[in-house]
């Protein structure tokens, strides 16, 4: 089957902070010269699309803002689709994605990564809304994350606490949820069976995409650690040294899937 779309992870796959992964810009141009559709998909809880886009442009990528699909975009789409007025525990930067969304008289709770919002008062307000039947939407459920002063407790812990106190189950919108990949593809009008995901996270990128019906290519850059491909089920469709090698592999195979 012909490949209709390629979903590409950002951090660890085509760049790390402000450094381009060698060959990524050329490889992306090569892929663009074919007729496949492209979308950049990433889990972010604190950076808006604009900030991500600015960074990528600054380091030399030619990317359109609308080509970026983040867990925040997925959350925004869900909010719009269900006409939710969420009480939001998210950072100021992430609020950019929710311009025009009313939080008056909230009927949902949205949790991102926002240390400044995870205090007792905000959490208690969230709990009361959930007990009244509001749905709990989590951008993602990371246990912890890395910051400059070391590991820090992640949003997943707070989401889990709220689930326990109220007996509800959070809807997670980011990777590795199948709905995340499906929503990203919906915009492109390509079905999961005609799409490939390229990323450095064996679990969230590759395994998540494959569970959603896409093919998954793991790259050995970013957070990749030797043997990651053997630790996941299903195993990746292909393992490439880097993004550039992954693109070559697709092109060598005539952009079609076995």
């Amino acid at each position: 089957m012909k490949i209709g779309a390629v979903l590409i992870d950002l951090s660890g796959t085509i760049h790390i902070d402000n450094t381009v992964i060698p060959g990524a810009i050329q490889a992306l141009n090569k892929l663009r010269s074919t007729d496949v559709k492209i979308k950049f998909v990433t889990n972010t809880t604190k950076e808006s699309k604009r900030i991500l886009h600015d960074r990528l442009t600054h380091i030399g990528f030619t990317i359109d803002k609308d080509e970026i699909f983040t867990s925040l975009t997925a959350a925004r789409q869900l909010v719009d689709k269900r006409a939710l007025r969420p009480y939001m525990l998210i950072t100021e930067a992430a609020r950019e994605e929710f311009v025009g969304v009313s939080g008056q008289d909230p009927n949902a709770v949205l949790v991102g990564l926002a240390p400044e919002c995870f205090d007792y008062e905000h959490m208690t307000t969230a709990m009361r809304l959930l007990l009244d039947g509001a749905p709990l939407i989590a951008i993602h459920k990371a246990r912890y994350y890395k910051r400059s002063d070391g590991l820090a407790i992640g949003p997943g812990a707070f989401v889990t606490g709220l689930e326990y106190s109220t007996g509800c189950k959070a809807e997670v919108v980011g990777k590795p949820e199948s709905s995340f990949f499906h929503t990203a593809l919906q915009d492109l009008g390509v079905s999961a069976s005609e799409a490939v995901m390229i990323g450095d996270d064996a679990r969230d990128d590759v395994c998540g995409a494959m569970t959603a019906g896409l093919r998954g290519i793991l790259v050995k850059t970013g957070k990749y650690r030797a043997g990651d491909e053997d630790k996941v089920d299903p195993v990746p469709s292909f393992v490439a040294d880097d993004f550039s090698r992954a693109v070559d592999y697709l092109i060598e195979n005539g952009l079609s899937l076995p």
Binding site: P115, Y120, R143, Y144, S165
Partner: protein, 270 residues
């Protein structure tokens, strides 16, 4: 006589907050009929003990408060997680990293000053449950060779100032999830905690009833321990709780007075 009273009751355990009084920002308000109910238990010779997960005030302060409401109680009749955890810390020579209410920190600070923490002790810290404090507890657990998370109770929420607010169990769950550890509960619904109060009365679990406003910590906890569990419609009770998918209280009553009425009426007949 209700079905639940067919086999005799020889001892009663009472929850405090939401059963004896309603909690609020000032001193709280006594629940009508509860003082008289406790007096009637005593006059009838029915053994009883108070079992609480209250960890925002020292035990002596809580007793003073109850006495001001008119309850006649002895300190030895009250079982709270604070003395229980202090005993545990001393027995096992643990040095705690504390995430508790400032008012009880003093009582819980045991072990040698300056030595690295060997466990995290979590109490109802209220406003002290900030991201920064939770993050330091998280980091303390992550560097322990054998991380131990001890939580004083495992409650979901309780009623304060006529509104529900988060209880310690929420933060215990959060740390469990982040660190991949399981917490040890001191307080309700730990069977060891209930058994301590039962042993003090010299009563078997099968002969005892627990009366509380928390369907999990009080009712389910008691039932899992072999006691009967009675739910009151005061405190944090909301009608949406029932029917509960997994927990069936032995009896649901309007308040403590009604529970004591039934228990004492059955006592006369047994």
């Amino acid at each position: 006589m209700g079905e639940w009273l067919r086999s005799p009751i020889r001892g009663v355990l009472l929850d405090i907050t939401g059963v004896l009084y309603e909690s609020s920002a000032d001193h709280g308000t006594v629940i009508p009929g509860s003082v008289k109910a406790v007096n009637r238990l005593r006059e009838s010779g029915m053994p009883f003990r108070l079992v609480t997960n209250e960890t925002t005030t020292p035990t002596t302060v809580l007793l003073d408060k109850l006495r001001r409401f008119g309850y006649q109680l002895e300190e030895r009749e009250l079982f709270s997680p604070i003395p229980a955890v202090v005993k545990l810390l001393q027995q096992e020579q643990l040095v705690p990293h504390l995430l508790v209410h400032p008012k009880v920190e003093g009582e819980l600070r045991v072990g040698e000053k300056g030595s690295p923490a060997s466990c995290v002790v979590l109490g109802d810290a209220e406003d002290n449950f900030s991201y920064a404090n939770l993050n330091s507890a998280f980091r303390a657990l992550m560097v322990m060779p054998c991380p131990r998370l001890i939580t004083l109770g495992y409650g979901r929420y309780y009623k304060h100032n006529q509104q529900l607010q988060l209880d310690v169990g929420v933060y215990a769950k959060a740390l469990e999830f982040a660190c991949g550890v399981e917490s040890e509960v001191v307080g309700k619904p730990s069977p060891a905690f209930f058994n301590q109060a039962l042993a003090d009365m010299g009563v078997q679990a099968e002969e005892a009833v627990m009366v509380g406003d928390d369907i999990s910590s009080d009712v389910e906890g008691a039932q899992k321990c072999g006691m009967r569990g009675v739910l009151v419609r005061t405190g944090k009770f909301t009608s949406s709780l029932l029917p509960h998918p997994t927990i069936t209280p032995d009896c649901v009553v309007d308040n403590l007075a009604e529970a004591v009425d039934q228990i004492l009426a059955a006592k006369g007949k047994n």
